[in-house]
Symmetry: C2
Subunit: 213 residues, 2 copies
DNA sequence: CCTACCGATCGGTAGG
DNA sequence: CCTACCGATCGGTAGG
């Protein structure tokens, strides 16, 4: 039957939909907005520029779609880890694990590049930036606050403002390497030992304030 | 004497030296690297492109000079405030003051723009970025660590690693608004009340760990 | 679908 | 000093 052609034969290997966005994302992350040419996107997606422009009528709209797709795909990355934290019996170990998860999630090359891209284009694309902050950053902060709230109800922590506690935890664990790697485009790598020391110290300071006496 | 011509008459008002760098800085901060044209720099400095290119043979070298000049000019901005902290008798108030100073210094529009510019160009100009981090950021962190060390010797704090304590203080006070303002290009402004709450909470958590019992 | 092209921008130079 | 220009790049289009 002609409708049962082998998958490797069907249409001539052009990317579309998610694949096109993945190709575009690669190009934007590798070269930033200005350096990402529509020719490069089309070539990487193995489609013609004509086809590219039929799906996204301008570079601006392609960029907005790439960021939206990125946020959608990373929406619930933290949830399972926070779920695990809420049922822990060892509060210190639970927080240490979470801090290491934060490092792995945020200090990776693609995440740092996406943050730099969004930051550099925030003035020209304020809505794209605001959507990223709200649906990615704020959402994860709220989920962490909920988890801390839960631990507070279980009498493992003593927290007045769970939002403030969530921010303090996040930044104690994350801010130093995030600042450094961001400013140097990843050139100033942290060693695993340095990160582990940072995690330990962050949790110690956090528990100094919020541990149940 | 011809050498005593009035200052308003001498040469036809063109900028050079520091003035040229100030003009270039304005243009780079307003439009980022790609959007800053050499024509705009020359126009703002009121010199010809020919004169501009005689002083800086390429846009790349002009950019590097602008960042170097920026670091030089901001080199000792923190020193007087840290000096004040080391002789305080009220440790909590001293730290609150310092946190407010950090906010004023780092969360200003030009500083945020310079950080975004350096970040966006860090891959193409790794040496410029590394020099900024070392001479601006690392230096201030070390100065703060020295001040905390001093307070530790005065038995107002109990600190094991003054570098770690300095980083924790900095990021407890600064990271949340810095992250937000950076990602949104300053669109998500913090109210003075929010900043003051943040400062209070940062100092409370910091003292929870490092206050002398 | 594909290629060739337009129109605009901009770093850098002095050809014309 | 200044203006006009070159050469290259690139978003977007179908003119030619």
């Amino acid at each position: 039957m002609s409708t049962a052609a082998p998958p490797t034969r069907g249409r001539p290997g052009g990317s579309r939909g998610t694949d096109l966005l993945a190709a575009a994302r690669d190009v934007f992350l590798a070269h930033q907005y200005a350096g990402a040419t529509m020719d490069a996107v089309a070539a990487r997606a193995r489609i013609s520029k004509q086809t590219l422009y039929r799906q996204y009528p301008s570079k601006d709209e392609l960029y907005a779609a790439v960021v939206r797709d990125w946020v959608d795909r990373g929406r619930d990355a933290m949830s399972p880890h926070l779920q695990k934290l809420t049922v822990t019996t060892d509060i210190r170990n639970g927080l240490l694990e979470l801090a290491r998860t934060l490092h792995a999630g945020v200090l990776s090359d693609p995440v740092l590049r996406m943050r730099t891209l969004i930051t550099a284009e925030a003035e020209r694309f304020p809505d794209v930036a605001a959507d990223y902050v709200r649906r990615s950053w704020d959402r994860n902060q709220t989920l962490l606050a909920d988890a801390l709230e839960h631990l507070s109800e279980r009498r493992l922590l003593r927290i007045e403002s769970s939002q403030m506690a969530a921010e303090q935890f996040t930044w104690l664990a994350l801010a130093a390497p995030l600042n450094r790697l961001t400013l140097t485009a990843g050139a100033a790598r942290y060693t695993p030992d340095e990160l582990e020391t940072l995690v330990q110290e962050a949790v110690t300071t956090f528990l100094g304030r919020y541990e149940m006496p």
